[in-house]
């Protein structure tokens, strides 16, 4: 009995020593997002897709009674049918609700074009794409395209990279399998949080729904995210737009790059971007974070050579947090409303301090309006 006890104690001490002195690795570092599951900010369900499709069909049925269907192109390919010389106004939640004869705007009928939103090039003459849900059988080459998406999802590599970032397909967390396309910023090999995720496909056991291109529409910016907060700078001395835009962007970049945020930053013509991945959050110290913060500058005017009375800053954020030091997709989730509020408050305070540096004298007239005499 005593020998057995000693043996047991020896095994326990040995195991403890091994645990203490062995480098512990429970996960492996990822170089891409293969197999990544993301908690989507706007998750979609099969029932919602079904409702959207019913509305689309009803609207098109009414339209077909009055207007002819004709051949038309989609990004250079003339294999599609559409309702031409018509205008279909969008309902508030996206999609199509009513039709009136106006303009030269295209709205497709089945089989609908199917393309990752980020891959549709911007064209102000053509308008912004409008997406709607349809069964996969109603999409042009739907099964083939979906198979391609699944391959991209499995690989998890970034693609469609340009100045605005890259695109990556992720699996959305939900009751059914969901494939979503997200934008992702990569600065100095530092990956930001997947942002602007849009569900492309919902794969249920009995049915598959895909987000098709329902048409193109001018006069709106589809899928544009709402900024988290705005800052307005009113100038007392009407400086030249170009100089204050540069100064505001540089000040914003300082705010993002310096503590407490210490993000990797990149500067574009009208925006500055900061990213950080898998680090201990300096704002939410009990969590690790995957974050992208973005500041966009706007002004009323056509050129940057003229004096301007005011400048607008639109600030948006994408934040995922994890209480553990893991890279398992399911551990990364959106922050709670309280965490998000705390993060944005800190960011706003930091940015306000930075922005003040572009002014010789300045006064905050309210929480988001700065009266400034520029340098």
């Amino acid at each position: 009995m005593q020998r057995s006890g000693e043996l047991l104690a020896g095994v326990v001490v040995f195991a403890f020593l091994i645990i203490c002195f062995t480098p512990i690795t429970f996960g492996q570092e990822r170089k891409n997002l293969n197999g990544q599951n993301i908690q989507l900010q706007n998750p979609t369900t099969v029932s919602r897709a079904r409702q959207d499709y019913s509305r689309l069909v009803a609207a098109q049925k009414r339209e077909r009674m009055d207007f002819a269907i004709e051949d038309c192109d989609f990004l250079g390919s003339r294999t599609y049918k559409c309702i031409a010389q018509s205008k279909i106004s969008r309902r508030s939640g996206g999609g199509i609700s009513s039709i009136s004869r106006e303009g030269g705007i295209r709205y497709y009928v089945a089989p609908f074009p199917l393309l990752i939103p980020q891959e549709i090039p911007s064209d102000p003459h053509r308008g912004e794409p409008v997406f709607d849900w349809a069964p996969i059988s109603e999409a042009f080459n739907g099964t083939h395209v979906l198979e391609n998406w699944k391959q991209l999802l499995r690989a998890g590599n970034f693609f469609n990279c340009n100045d605005a970032g890259c695109t990556v397909l992720v699996r959305g967390l939900g009751e059914n399998e969901q494939i979503a396309a997200c934008s992702i910023d990569v600065i100095n090999n530092q990956m930001g949080a997947p942002s602007g995720c849009l569900t492309l496909a919902i794969i249920a056991p009995q049915e598959t729904w895909v987000r098709v291109v329902a048409g193109f529409e001018t006069g709106g910016q589809a899928n544009m995210g709402r900024p988290d907060f705005d800052i307005s700078i009113n100038f007392q001395n009407r400086p030249i737009a170009g100089s204050v835009i540069s100064a505001a962007l540089a000040a914003s970049q300082q705010g993002l790059a310096n503590p407490p945020f210490s993000l990797s930053t990149t500067l574009a013509a009208r925006s500055v971007l900061g990213v950080a991945a898998y680090r201990v959050s300096p704002i939410l110290p009990s969590s690790r974070e995957l974050v992208t913060l973005r500041v966009d500058v706007s002004f009323d005017g056509k050129t940057t050579d003229l004096p301007i009375p005011k400048l607008g800053l639109a600030i948006s954020s994408t934040l995922y947090v994890n209480r553990q030091n893991t890279q398992r997709p399911e551990d990364w989730h959106l922050p709670s409303p309280q965490q998000e509020q705390s993060y944005l408050s800190q960011f706003k305070a930091t940015l306000k301090r930075s922005i003040q540096s572009i002014c010789r004298t300045s006064t905050w007239t309210d929480d988001s309006t700065l009266m400034c005499e520029s340098r």
Binding site: S4, L8, T25, R30
Partner: protein, 155 residues
């Protein structure tokens, strides 16, 4: 080891482990241990029922009515009896302590990103340690508390 001391050991260890797990899982998230409350409660739900089962068996044994049977207080002659009663509980305690230490250490702020132990792995370790109890201590508890013996009232 006598039967009576084995019963005391099972009851005392079950109470202590239950109390320790309660305190740990309820307090740890507030003290910076890398667990969210919902995760701590989930682990509590995994770990506690086994010990509740032991304590339930002991309670039924103590308070059951009916004719008392004079038990074999002299003890069990098999020298492995004590090891089988105490050993799995000790291993459970040590395995859990090691798992919690490892979980906290790999999830500390200074750890290399992505190298932390996830909650599901921690839950698996707890479950494996509990399964050791299930195949060993359960049998002992069944013998100690459900074999029909009841200690004679000391009147």
């Amino acid at each position: 080891m006598s039967v009576e001391s084995a019963r005391k050991w099972v009851i005392v260890s079950s109470l202590m482990i239950t109390g320790a797990l309660f305190v740990f899982f309820l307090v740890a998230p507030t003290l910076g241990f890398p667990l969210e409350f919902s995760q701590a409660i989930r682990l509590l739900q995994i770990a506690l029922p086994v010990f509740f089962g032991y304590l339930g068996s002991a309670s039924r044994f103590i308070f059951k009515t009916g004719p008392t049977v004079i038990m074999q207080e002299a003890g069990i002659k098999n020298s492995l009896f004590g090891l089988l009663v105490k050993g799995p509980v000790i291993v459970f305690i040590v395995a859990n302590a090691a798992a919690f230490f490892s979980f906290a250490y790999s999830n500390r702020a200074a750890a290399e990103p992505g190298t932390g132990m996830d909650v599901d792995t921690l839950a698996t370790i707890i479950t494996v340690a509990l399964s050791l109890l299930a195949v060993t201590t359960n049998a002992a508890v069944s013998f100690l508390f459900d074999a029909g013996d009841k200690p004679a009232e000391s009147t």
